[in-house]
């Protein structure tokens, strides 16, 4: 039972991974994307995103879309918090450190 649930959930992940290829097949154009090549930065970013999403019980989709649309106060607090720290982080990286 548990294994079947894991497998069925894996279907969602497979669908996500396949999405850009479905797009390319439909439009005939490559999906434009620009990812930072700074590996230590991306590792730090990944650790924080994974830890924070699991610790805070949700991410942009979980709190930001699903939670807000259910009018969850908890999700509103989380969304305001992560939007604020993300704005501040980009400001510091681009205009204080980088500027």
């Amino acid at each position: 039972m548990a294994r079947r649930r894991v497998l069925s959930r894996l279907g969602f992940v497979v669908g996500l991974v396949a999405a850009p290829f479905a797009m390319q097949a439909l439009t005939g154009e490559p999906v434009a994307q620009s990812v930072s090549g700074n590996i230590p930065l991306m590792v730090a970013s990944g650790l924080l995103v994974g830890f924070g999403a699991a610790r805070g019980g949700g991410c942009t989709s979980g709190h930001g879309v699903c939670g807000l649309s259910r009018l969850s106060t908890r999700s509103l607090v989380a969304t305001i918090t992560f939007m604020a720290t993300a704005f501040v982080t980009v400001f510091l990286v681009r205009h204080v450190i980088g500027g």
């Binding site: 069925s8 497979v14 990812v35 930065l41 995103v49 924070g52 610790r55 709190h63 720290t85 993300a86």
Partner: protein, 144 residues
């Protein structure tokens, strides 16, 4: 059967992320750059998704049960605590550093950027660490 159903849902969600630009870190970082090259378009993506999901939930909750599956799985937690705020704060810092959140990062996996290959294993490691921390907290503190 549920594997295929979830695959279809993941594909739909993923195409939405790709079409809207949520899966492009450069676009996300411009959205977050209020005092620089601000690109407000992603606010309409998130706002649009919230409006659609708001009405979607109304339709769904009018039913006695889901079309597929035994029951609805609705988050039961309501506590606004340090764990929620600290987790969200760290999540935001990570999102602002790399421009990826979990769903869009997975749609980027097959496109093969080295930064994505660095991000995704680190993200799973972070999730695993949070789970370990939650389990150790549950052991040392009394339940409730």
């Amino acid at each position: 059967m549920s594997f295929l159903r979830n695959l279809g849902l993941g594909l739909l969600f993923g195409i939405g992320l790709v079409v809207s630009g949520m899966s492009d870190p450069a676009k996300v970082l411009n959205f977050l750059d209020l005092f620089g090259t601000w690109d407000p378009s992603l606010a309409f993506v998130i706002g649009g998704a919230v409006v659609v999901a708001f009405f979607g939930y109304r339709v769904v909750f009018a039913r006695t049960g889901p079309i597929a599956g035994d029951r609805f799985h609705i988050p039961a937690k309501e506590a606004i605590d340090g764990r929620l705020v600290a987790g969200a704060a760290l999540f935001g810092i990570g999102w602002g550093l790399g421009g990826f959140c979990p769903g869009p990062a997975l749609t980027a996996l097959g496109l093969g950027a080295p930064g994505t290959f660095a991000f995704i294993p680190a993200m799973f490691l972070g999730m695993w660490a949070a789970r370990l921390l939650a389990e150790s907290g549950a052991r040392t503190r009394p339940a409730g």
